[in-house]
C-alpha cells in the first residue's frame, strides 16, 4: 500500500473543507418557491422580469400576483390579501401598493413570520414596525427634505401643498413643510383632500382653484396622479396660471396618467433611483426589449425585491426564516445586495441603509433626469 504523506492528507482535507464551504452555496430547494406580489401594475413587469432571469439561472421561483384592486386595498383588504399569500405558503411578500396598505399588512406578516419586502412605500410609520418588514426605499422624511431643498435652491419662497389625507400625503406634506420653513421658506397654503373611497362625492375643484390663484411660487403635490385625475374638479389642472409643481415619487406615474401628461409637464418629482446608475440603465434596456415600453419607478424596486429573494435562495435559503436571516445579515456578515436601485442592506428598523432620492422632471409625458 502506498504511503500517503502529510501533504496529500492536508490537500485532501483542504479540498473537503472547500467542498463543504461551496456546497451550501450551491444548495437550492428542490421545490418551486412562491413569492406573493401585491404591487401596482407599474411594478409587476419588473418583478416578472426578475423571476424570468432567476429561472434562467436555475432558481425555481414563481410569482403569485394580486389583482390591481386587491393590491390597492388598504385596511382589512390588505390584511386579507397578505393572509391569502401566507396561506398559500409564499416564501415572502413583495408589496404593497401604498404605505397605508403596507402598514395594514405589516402586523400580519410579523405574526405569520413571513418577510415583507416593501418596494416603494415611504411612510415613516413603517420604520421599525416589526422584524419581518424590510423596506427597499427611503422615507417621506428624506423625500420631503430633498424636495424642500430643491424648492429653496430654485428660488421658491411661498409654497402651497395639496396632500391626500392619508399616511403618504400627510407624511410627505409635514416633512416638506418642516424642512422648507427651516430653510426660510413659507408654506402659505396647504389643502388636504380625502381619498376617493372616503369621499366619493368630493370635489377637488375649489381646492385646486385656491392653489392656482393663491399667489404661490410652487405647489407640492403630495398625492398620486391616478387619484388626482379621477376626482371631480381635476380639470382645474388644465387651466393656465399654475405655479411650478413638485411631487413625491408617486405624484406622476405615466401609466396612471394614461397619456394625460399636459397638466404635469415640467413638474419635478422624486425618484427612487440613484442618478446615472449603470445598473438601472441596463435594467431599462432589458425591460424595453422584454415589454416594449419604458420601465416605471415601481418596476425597478420590484425587480430588486424579487432579485434579492432570488439571491437569498441561491445562497441556500429554503423558507421564510432563512430569508429573514439573510436579509438581516446583508451589509453585516454579507455584502450589500447590488440592485438596480443601488446597494441594498437594512438597518435594525428594517429601512434601507443607503436609500436616496433623485429628482426627475416630466417631459413629454416621460420622466427625465433633472440637470442641475
Amino acid at each position: 500500500m502506498a504511503w500517503v504523506g502529510p501533504s496529500a492528507v492536508s490537500r485532501a482535507l483542504t479540498l473537503l473543507a472547500l467542498a463543504l464551504l461551496v456546497l451550501p452555496a450551491c444548495r437550492r430547494p428542490s421545490q418551486e418557491l412562491l413569492i406573493g406580489l401585491a404591487v401596482h401594475p407599474s411594478g409587476v413587469n419588473g418583478a416578472t422580469l426578475a423571476v424570468e432571469e432567476l429561472r434562467a439561472r436555475g432558481i425555481r421561483v414563481r410569482l403569485r400576483t394580486a389583482s390591481r384592486e386587491d393590491a390597492d386595498s388598504i385596511g382589512a383588504g390588505a390584511v386579507a390579501l397578505a393572509e391569502s399569500f401566507v396561506r398559500s405558503g409564499v416564501v415572502a411578500v413583495v408589496g404593497h401598493s401604498s404605505s397605508a396598505a403596507s402598514l395594514s399588512a405589516a402586523n400580519l406578516v410579523n405574526r405569520a413570520h413571513v418577510p415583507l419586502l416593501i418596494p416603494n412605500s415611504t411612510s415613516p410609520l413603517l420604520s421599525g414596525i416589526g422584524p419581518w418588514v424590510f423596506r427597499l426605499c427611503g422615507t417621506d422624511t428624506l423625500q420631503g427634505r430633498v424636495l424642500a431643498s430643491h424648492a429653496w435652491r430654485a428660488g421658491f419662497r411661498r409654497a402651497g401643498i395639496l396632500y391626500v389625507l392619508d399616511d403618504y400625503g400627510k407624511g410627505l406634506a409635514t416633512a416638506f413643510a418642516r424642512s422648507f420653513e427651516q430653510q426660510g421658506g413659507h408654506v402659505a397654503l396647504a389643502v388636504g383632500y380625502s381619498w376617493m373611497s372616503d369621499r366619493p362625492d368630493g370635489d377637488l375643484g375649489p381646492a385646486l382653484l385656491r392653489l392656482r390663484s393663491g399667489g404661490l411660487d410652487v405647489v407640492l403635490l403630495a398625492a398620486r396622479t391616478r387619484d388626482l385625475l379621477s376626482l371631480p374638479g381635476a380639470a382645474e389642472f388644465r387651466k393656465e396660471g399654475w405655479p411650478a409643481l413638485l411631487g413625491g415619487d408617486v405624484a406622476y406615474v405615466p401609466l396612471d396618467a394614461g397619456g394625460v401628461s399636459a397638466p404635469f409637464e415640467g413638474m419635478v418629482v422624486t425618484s427612487l433611483l440613484p442618478e446615472r446608475s449603470l445598473a438601472a440603465e441596463r435594467f431599462a434596456t432589458r425591460y424595453r426589449v422584454r415589454f416594449g415600453s419604458e420601465p416605471e419607478n415601481p418596476s425597478y424596486a420590484c425587480y430588486d425585491a424579487v432579485g434579492l429573494i432570488g439571491q437569498a435562495i441561491a445562497s441556500g435559503a429554503a423558507g421564510p426564516d432563512d430569508l429573514q436571516r439573510f436579509l438581516r445579515r446583508l451589509g453585516r456578515e454579507l455584502p450589500a445586495y447590488e440592485g438596480v436601485t443601488g446597494k441594498l442592506s437594512f438597518d435594525e428598523r428594517g429601512d434601507a441603509r443607503e436609500a436616496t432620492f433623485s429628482l426627475v422632471r416630466v417631459a413629454n409625458g416621460k420622466l427625465v433626469a433633472v440637470t442641475p
Binding site: P124, L165, V187, V191, G192, D198, G202, D203
Partner: protein, 304 residues
C-alpha cells in the same frame, strides 16, 4: 472537612437560587416598567390626539364662521401635529388589538378631517350640502373610535395593576420560600457540625482505647515474664529457706526480675512517641525498644 463542604452545599444552592430569583424579578420588573412607560406615553399621546382633534374642529369652525386665513393655517398645522402624534402612538409597542383600535381612530379622524377640509375649501363658493349632518356623523364616529382606544388603555391599566399585584405576591412567596430554605439549611448545617464533633470525640476515644490496649499488651508481655520469675522464686524461697546459697541465688533472681520490671516502667514513662510492633499478627503493642524521637523528658525536681 467533607461534612463541612456538604453543610455548605445547601447555602451554595440557596445563593444560586437567590441570584436566579433576583435576576428573574429584576427582569419582570423591567418588563413591567417598560409596559408602564408605554402606557404612560400612550395615555399622553391619546390625550394629545383627542385635544388635537378638538382643536382642529375648533379652527375649522372658526374659519367657516369668519373666513379668516390664520384659522385655516392653524387647522393645517394642527392636522400635521396630530398626525405626528398618531404616528408616535403607532410607533409604541402596542398589542394587535390596540394597534387596530388606533388605526380605526386614525381612519375616523381622517374622515372627519376630510369633511372639515372640504367644507373649508368650498366655503368661498357654494355651501357643502348637509355639512352639519356630515360633521356630526364624522365627529361621532371619531369620538367612538377615541373612546375605543381609551377603553383599551383602561383595560391595559387594569391588566398592568393585576400584573403588578401578581408580581408582588410572587415576590412575597419567593422571599418566604428563600427564608424558609435558609432556616432549613442553617439547621442542617448545625446538625452536621454537631455530628462532626461527636464523630471527632469518638475517634479520639477510640484512639485512646487503642493506646491503652497496646500498653496493656506491652505490660503483659514485658512484665508477665519477670513477674512469673518473682512468683516462682517466692514459692521456691519458701522451700529452700534452709539453704542459704539457694536463697541467695533466688533472691538475686527476684532482684533481677524486679529490676527488669522497673526498667520497663521507666521506659514507658520516658515514651515520647509511640511505635508499635505486632505482638501477634493483628495485635499491636508498644515497641519499648524503639529509639525515642521526641525531646528528652524534663529533669524532675528532687523530692523535698
Amino acid at each position: 472537612m467533607l461534612l463541612t463542604a456538604l453543610g455548605l452545599l445547601p447555602f451554595v444552592a440557596l445563593a444560586y437560587l437567590g441570584v436566579q430569583a433576583a435576576v428573574e424579578t429584576r427582569r419582570a420588573f423591567a418588563n413591567l416598567n417598560a409596559s408602564l412607560d408605554t402606557l404612560t406615553e400612550a395615555v399622553r399621546l391619546e390625550g394629545l390626539v383627542r385635544q388635537g382633534i378638538a382643536d382642529e374642529m375648533g379652527a375649522a369652525r372658526e374659519y367657516l364662521a369668519r373666513r379668516n386665513e390664520p384659522a385655516w393655517q392653524r387647522f393645517t398645522r394642527l392636522t400635521w401635529t396630530t398626525y405626528e402624534n398618531e404616528a408616535r402612538y403607532l410607533g409604541l409597542p402596542l398589542t394587535s388589538e390596540e394597534r387596530l383600535a388606533v388605526e380605526r381612530m386614525r381612519t375616523q379622524h381622517r374622515l372627519l378631517e376630510g369633511v372639515l377640509q372640504e367644507a373649508m375649501t368650498r366655503a368661498d363658493g357654494r355651501a357643502v350640502p348637509g355639512l352639519e349632518a356630515q360633521l356630526e356623523a364624522a365627529e361621532a364616529a371619531s369620538t367612538r373610535a377615541l373612546e375605543d382606544v381609551s377603553r383599551m388603555l383602561q383595560e391595559r391599566m387594569a391588566q398592568m395593576a393585576g400584573t403588578a399585584d401578581a408580581a408582588a405576591v410572587h415576590l412575597g412567596r419567593l422571599v418566604t420560600t428563600l427564608a424558609g430554605l435558609f432556616v432549613v439549611s442553617l439547621l442542617l448545617l448545625v446538625v452536621l457540625l454537631l455530628r462532626a464533633a461527636e464523630m471527632q470525640r469518638r475517634l479520639v476515644e477510640a484512639e485512646r482505647l487503642a493506646a491503652v490496649a497496646q500498653v496493656g499488651v506491652t505490660l503483659r508481655h514485658e512484665i508477665n515474664n519477670p513477674l512469673a520469675v518473682v512468683v516462682g522464686a517466692a514459692d521456691i524461697l519458701r522451700e529452700v529457706r534452709d539453704d542459704p546459697q539457694a536463697v541467695g541465688e533466688w533472691a538475686e533472681a527476684v532482684a533481677l526480675a524486679a529490676a527488669r520490671i522497673r526498667d520497663v516502667l521507666r521506659r514507658l514513662e520516658e515514651l515520647r512517641s509511640v511505635e508499635t510492633v505486632d505482638y501477634t499478627p493483628g495485635v499491636p503493642m508498644v515497641d519499648l525498644e524503639a529509639k525515642p524521637s521526641g525531646p528528652p523528658p524534663a529533669p524532675k525536681a528532687p523530692p523535698s
